[in-house]
């Protein structure tokens, strides 16, 4: 029983990472119907930015910050810088194609290519030596009824929940959020209503990439050894999680992320770990089979 709860806590932590990345997919998809396949790599870039920011803050440059102060500064800085990367991609790669009226899938392929550029460019520029994020949080292990939980794990899970609440608020209560929902509803009517389409799109990319950056910081704190390809697998899986939840829906991204993590952790708990992908994906396939548009997705009906 305790073992199961322990697994559950781990699943919640992994689910938080998946959910934070899945959000970026879902936000962009909700607005542009674009699968931003570079998103997993933006997450990776976020982790690297966190590495550079934190080593600079703590390093010989001599800001003389305590590790906690560094952490408090690293998180917002990483989020801002990562969202700059995301918005840059949008501006130089996706927007021109959209303007030319290219087929949707060409933008998707461009996104895939951008991801390759990011991960291989990183490897080419920084070399193959692995970087390690400096420790910024003193590890505290709480023991609750035989279950060991670190303060980091609790932090990760709570941050994910906080992001969820804030995002729900933004999307349902603010002007920008309403504009975002309006774009997904009718892209052509929006400019007629006096909303600048491009501003909404930039805002969406900013939020999505910022959250991925946050995910990157938290991930790097939990698993400090960085790798240029760390975003690939996590990214694909988070995308799948977003779709299983119902892509375009914020709740879906969260539920999908936690569900995927739960399935993965449970499979590895009872079966050899090599079966993880096999079972996780098979279960997701079954879910999609039963609910072809995901858990929260609205089925589109063709009107004739």
């Amino acid at each position: 029983m305790e073992l199961i709860i322990q697994h559950l806590v781990n699943a919640l932590q992994w689910g938080s990472f998946y959910a934070l990345i899945a959000l970026g997919y879902t936000l962009v998809y909700g607005v542009l119907a674009l699968i931003n396949f570079a998103h997993g790599d933006i997450f990776m870039v976020g982790a690297y930015i966190a590495f550079f920011v934190s080593t600079m803050l703590l390093g010989a440059a001599g800001f003389g910050l305590s590790s906690f102060q560094a952490l408090v500064l690293t998180i917002p800085l990483t989020m801002i810088l990562t969202s700059c990367v995301g918005v840059t991609l949008e501006r130089i790669a996706y927007r021109p194609l959209r303007r030319k009226g290219a087929h949707r899938l060409y933008v998707v392929i461009t996104a895939l290519m951008c991801g390759l550029v990011l991960e291989n460019g990183n490897l080419a520029l920084l070399g193959a030596s692995r970087r390690t994020l400096p420790e910024m949080l003193d590890k505290v292990v709480y023991n609750i009824g035989g279950i060991a939980v670190t303060n980091l794990k609790i932090g990760v899970i709570f941050t994910a929940l906080l992001v969820f609440v804030v995002l729900q608020h933004i999307v349902t209560r603010t002007r920008m959020g309403m504009a975002m929902r309006a774009v997904s509803w009718d892209k052509f009517a929006l400019p007629l209503m006096g909303v600048a389409l491009d501003r909404v799109i930039v805002f969406t990319f900013m939020m999505g990439s910022g959250i991925a950056g946050l995910g990157g910081v938290l991930f790097a704190m939990s698993y400090p050894v960085l790798d240029p390809y760390m975003g690939v697998m996590v990214g694909w899986k988070a995308f799948i999680a977003a779709v299983v939840g119902g892509i375009g829906d914020i709740r879906g991204a969260f539920v999908g992320g936690f569900l995927l993590a739960f399935v993965e952790i449970m499979v590895t708990a009872f079966l050899p770990s090599t079966f993880r992908d096999l079972f996780a994906f098979a279960i997701l396939l079954l879910i999609l089979w039963q609910r072809p548009t995901g858990l929260f997705g609205v089925s589109q009906t063709t009107k004739i």
Partner: protein, 362 residues
């Protein structure tokens, strides 16, 4: 002279080129690297053209084509090892090596057939869902297939499988000709012919009807479910054949060679060439293969050039990793200039109508 001969001019020319290559390989005029690149080009053509049937003509978004190549590669390899090589686990060679040239095409067919069966994994969900949800199903199918292969220890699991060289040696013992080059050429030409025949028939145009308006297709009497099954199964069958050829060209297979990156390569070739253009896929596959192989030499050349011009500091070396930065960058640029791919949805003979006078391709 508008005779039959004239109408087959390009066909004859192509046959002569193929024959020339085979002879050149036979007389050892081609070095083995060039030969491998040529074979790899053929395999990429099959891979891209078969994916184009689903992603281009039918307008679906299949992201897991590499999975079907994996099935074909492994089925082909296992059959080949069972038949012609002695292996600790799979037992002694089942057949005398003199039969190899006759059995090998059957092995290719079997690989295609089993890949087609796995194609059902994607075809059946496509009845109920399409677009991005189907894309996920294909990605998941890709992962599932690879994970499945890696969990079957008898075929090597994550270590991969080798022993196919035996089959090639067996063929060489029968007659010393460049067998694999010939098989790849035959495979490529047959695949392209089959695809062309399907999409140019009224039956196969049902595939394009699904892409352009599925509701109208169904209501005008096109059995859309059956057409989808045909398209998905033929597409994955050809990918399977490409996989079996790949396994035999390299003599070794590993499931990770067919992961989502392989599928991405396929998509790149399809969209670079143009959705719904076979000649586009062929051109894109050739360009892509040459690009990948050309940069192998291009990067050291660029490196020495930059060092000579003192642009790069002396201690920095432009490594091969830059290849995978340049290629995607180049593709991004290409897409900006030609947002519908090299050919759009036209064929070569649509752009140059006079070509029709010289070629017979149906």
């Amino acid at each position: 002279m508008h005779t039959a001969v004239q109408r087959y001019t390009l066909n004859i020319l192509l046959a002569l080129v193929c024959l020339g290559l085979v002879l050149a390989a036979y007389w050892d005029l081609l070095d083995s690297y060039v030969l491998t690149v040529l074979m790899f080009m053929g395999i990429n053509i099959i891979f891209a053209a078969s994916l184009n049937l689903v992603n281009g003509y039918m307008g679906e978004f299949s992201c897991g084509h590499g999975g079907f190549m994996c099935v074909g590669a492994y089925v082909g390899s296992v059959l080949s090892v069972i038949c012609f090589s002695s292996n600790k686990i799979l037992g002694a060679a089942l057949l005398p090596s003199t039969l190899a040239p006759w059995i090998f095409p059957l092995i290719l067919l079997a690989s295609g057939f089993s890949a087609a069966l796995f194609g059902l994994l994607v075809a059946l969900p496509s009845f109920r869902t399409r677009g991005d949800y189907l894309a996920i199903i294909t990605i998941a199918a890709n992962y599932i297939i690879i994970s499945l292969v890696e969990n079957i220890d008898i075929i090597g699991g994550p270590r991969g499988l080798s022993g196919m060289k035996r089959t090639m040696n067996a063929m060489r013992d029968v007659a010393d000709i460049p067998w694999m080059l010939i098989w790849v050429m035959i495979g490529t030409l047959v695949s392209l012919t089959l695809l062309r025949r399907l999409v140019s028939s009224t039956y196969g145009k049902g595939i394009r009807a699904i892409c352009q308006n599925e509701v109208a297709a169904e209501i005008m009497g096109v059995n859309t479910d059956r057409v989808k099954i045909v398209a998905f199964m033929l597409s994955s069958a050809l990918a399977g054949v490409a996989g079996a050829l790949y396994a035999h060209v390299f003599g070794y297979v590993n499931a990770q060679a067919f992961n989502i990156l392989k599928s991405t390569e396929g998509m790149v070739m399809v969209y670079l060439g143009g959705m719904g253009s076979l000649s586009g896929s062929v051109i894109a596959a050739m360009v892509f293969t040459l690009l990948v192989e050309g940069l192998r030499f291009g990067i050291p050349a660029l490196d020495s050039l930059l060092h000579a011009a003192h642009v790069l500091p002396a201690d920095v070396v432009l490594s091969q990793i830059w290849k995978w930065v340049f290629i995607p960058l180049l593709l991004i640029l290409l897409m900006q200039f030609r947002p519908e791919g090299i050919m759009g949805n036209r064929e070569l003979w649509d752009l140059f109508p006079r070509l029709k006078r010289w070629i017979r391709f149906r």
